[in-house]
């Protein structure tokens, strides 16, 4: 079932990606789109038959280039396939061949032609009237407005582009903010897809782009413009260490026997219960690992205002004790309330992401472990 053109498949094979790998990848895409796996061959054919490459402008603003770096870690398709066979990435400061005026010209030409996707990485820098970031003599904020006006859709990759990320953490020295709130403030309304975490997971970037190429529209989004399929559940919901949580088996010191046994990191400050991403499912870097598998508690980089809301990272969720019989659904809601207060301040708007509606969902009232340890004054 290679398409009539078969170009993509031939190119992939030339690069060592077998037809089987490609169909398997299309299966992943199907799953991400919430389609049946049997849709994989159709997806493969649609991709293979695509004649023109979709133009992309990838802007970096108050960024560390970590989201470009992360996207370069995509495996199937790899980054070469993405930039040569699926997209025409006409402007991307970190890897484009052109420099200086020639680079800016490539961007201006793409904007003039229209029909492109805008990917935005890094915070929108509003400090000193926008002078906190100047590229080719133009303010970063003006570049955003120009590119956003002509874009079919905008993908805000990484927490910095979504809400300012760490750059907007107190005292927010350079007036950093997210793409959505900034564009709203200047009256620009474009389809926006928010992909928070620090950095962005390449699987999400690729799936959202392929989704858009196939269906010509943005995926189903939640009220914060995040794809529902990615941000619909907490890390805690899908964590492979969840069983240890249920059993009351916790790591209480790094390097301990419990750490070596892979026990739950909740007592070490894990923000999995209040962080909505599918990291435990898609994992990172060719699916080889993810934060918790490295023995580290989630620091909640996929949450909103993640630094101010989650630091100190080693503190248990807002110091709510876990030895009192309080269950995670309630914890998630309680912390969510605090998060909500922060979000209103930053203009994103918040109706507690799903978790609020689930307050009171019955769970066991108290775990056996907690009952035992609660008598001793909790887990610490």
């Amino acid at each position: 079932m290679p398409g009539k053109n078969g170009v993509l498949l031939r190119e992939l094979e030339a690069r060592g990606v077998s037809r089987r790998d490609f169909i398997k990848y299309c299966g992943t895409i199907a799953a991400m789109l919430g389609l049946d796996l049997s849709a994989a061959p159709q997806i493969a054919e649609a991709l293979d038959n695509a004649s023109a490459l979709k133009p992309v402008i990838w802007l970096e603003a108050g960024s560390c280039s970590g989201c470009t770096e992360s996207t370069a870690q995509s495996d199937n398709p790899d980054i070469a396939t993405i930039v040569l066979d699926i997209l025409s990435v006409n402007y991307t400061e970190t890897i484009m061949a052109a420099a200086g005026y020639a680079a800016e010209q490539a961007k201006d030409d793409t904007i003039a032609k229209g029909g492109y996707l805008l990917v935005y990485e890094g915070s929108v820098m509003t400090g000193w009237g926008g002078d906190a970031l100047v590229i080719a003599g133009r303010k970063g904020i003006d570049e955003l407005v120009t590119a956003a006006k002509g874009a079919e859709a905008i993908i805000a990759v990484g927490s910095c582009a979504v809400d300012g990320g760490w750059v907007a953490a107190a005292p927010n020295p350079a007036g950093a903010m997210g793409v959505g709130p900034y564009l709203a403030s200047v009256g620009i309304n474009k389809p926006l897809i928010n992909l928070p975490t620090c950095p962005v997971n390449p699987v999400w970037v690729v799936s959202v782009i392929v989704d858009y190429l196939l269906l010509g529209k943005v995926p189903a989004l939640d009220e914060y413009d995040r794809p529902k399929s990615i941000y619909g559940q907490t890390i805690h919901d899908n964590c492979p260490r969840r069983g240890h949580f249920e059993n009351g088996e916790f790591v209480r010191e790094f390097g301990s026997e419990e750490a070596a046994l892979g026990y739950c990191l909740y007592a070490m400050g894990c923000k999995g219960p209040t962080t909505f991403t599918d990291c435990p499912v898609v994992r990172w870097n060719h699916k080889q690992s993810w934060c918790v598998e490295a023995g580290a508690p989630c620091i909640g980089c996929g949450g909103f205002d993640w630094v101010d809301n989650n630091a100190p990272f080693a503190d248990r969720l807002h110091n709510l004790p876990i030895g009192t019989g309080v269950q995670p659904a309630v914890l998630g809601w309680a912390a969510g309330g605090i998060v909500a207060a922060g979000l209103v301040v930053h203009g994103i708007g918040m109706k507690a992401a799903g978790r609020t509606g689930r307050v009171g969902v019955p769970t066991e009232e108290i775990k056996e472990y907690d009952r035992k340890h609660g008598a001793k004054g909790g887990d610490k």
């Binding site: 992360s70 003599g137 390097g255 060719h286 580290a296 100190p312």
Partner: protein, 556 residues
Amino acid sequence: MVRTVIDPVTRIEGHLRVELEVENNLVTDAWVSGTLFRGMELVMKDRAPADAFFVTQRICGVCPVSHGHTSSMATEAAFNVTIPNNARIIRNLVEGAQFLHSHILWFYNLAALDWVDVSQALKADIAQTYALAEQVGTSTADFKAVQDQLKKLVAGGQLSIFTNAWFGNTAYSAKMPPEFALIATAHYLEALRYQSEASTVCAIIGGKMPHIMSSIPGGTTFVPTDDNLSRILFRLKAIRDWVAATMIPDVIALAPFYPEATTYGQGVGKFMAYGVFDRESMKPIDRYLPMGIITSGLNVADVDETKILEYVDRSFYEPYPEGADKGINPTQGITQPMAPKYDTTTPGGRYTWSKAPRYDSQPIEVGGLARVLVAYLRGVPEIKTLVDSTLAKLGVAGKPEVLISTLGRTAARPLEALYVGNLMIDQVNELIASLKGGDSKFFQPYDDAQGAGVGMWEAPRGALLHATNVSGHKIQNYQCIVPSTWNVSPRDADGKVHGPMEQALIGNPCTDLKQPLEALRTIHSFDPCIACAVHVMDAKDGTENTIWTGPAMGVL
């Protein structure tokens, strides 16, 4: 006398602008500007000491591991913590994997496009390409498929990341056959794969990459298993073998096409490395790549960190209370940003967000070349062998000073990549031996109430320093001097002494004002961590006569 500007400088991390003054086809002066301010140091104030490990990694998505390690070292120094031996080896491994990632990505995917005109690969004869690869001893690939890929791009009229490249510029070597361009292009694509394999090693240890999770102050959260050790070891072997079979021969084959590139880009001729990859002693002087400073000729000395002072006379920061011309040691550092107004025409004007660190009042170059030179002069045997054999192959045996140039700076990092690849395989074996010996300690608890400490380490692009000052369990002051701050630092207040990259640009050929390719090579040789365009202005009457670099005329 005219000026030309590269803004944005692409294929780097971040936002960089370079302005050049050109006379008789030679660069006579240069202004290097960082054009973004975020304010990490201010964000760290009042936070928990250990959180700096997580947050300061976000300074840079290319070298987060180095920031994380330097931060943890500063925190550990503040609280007198010595990390367990296993944690030392594991940190070496994740750092080394990041070095491999960074060197591969930088050499092939960022820097090489200044040396190889990819459009020439379209003209290559496939059979001759295989013959040439064999002749120069580099690895082969499916050259036809790569050429077909390029042809398809050109036929489709959408050039993606090659849009408006400076291909066709006369500063590309006329002697380089199209077949070599095709080999290099094939390896450019392979490099995209191997940089990712190296990053995957970081992720197996650190959970994800960029921005790892494991090297927290006190040790590491990563506990090795048979499974993840084998996934690490065999990836490292594959990467090391590729570096040896592809990257090293490519560098040696490329150099003879650009003999003139050893005659420019010398810079300030002073080098410093803090050292990287700890041995059991945990002493910087003992590191596998040791600490040292070179301030005159090729003589190495010990680093005295009290001699490091930062100045802000030409940067967008408020003058220090002690006086505008006074420098401050980073342990006492102050970051007070002001509204930026770029001024490269008035004597004493401010033109960058980069501060100006100086050692004993002198600008110093840091980076791969500095590390290799210090290790060479300190007599690290593997580095001596690598450098000497490479110099011999290039017909300049016994002349390490040729490394001090744009070409030499570019070649030093691939050599270092091979050294690091071998070292990392040794480190896996050392870790396995330690675990077999029964050592199961990975973390040392500590009290974080009070203390001040400095961490000095290396990022792939050079010497990195973090300083933390804690009281009441909270950070009171946090300062970083990142490698590129040394390299892209502005000139002194009186304008007599330039920053290292500015100095390296002075004397560069500039045959095409619209596409100053030689200057771009010199800029990329430093792998600056910041991004720019080229416009020209008439310096005589100071009017800005914006002649930007024109659109590329190349085939691609």
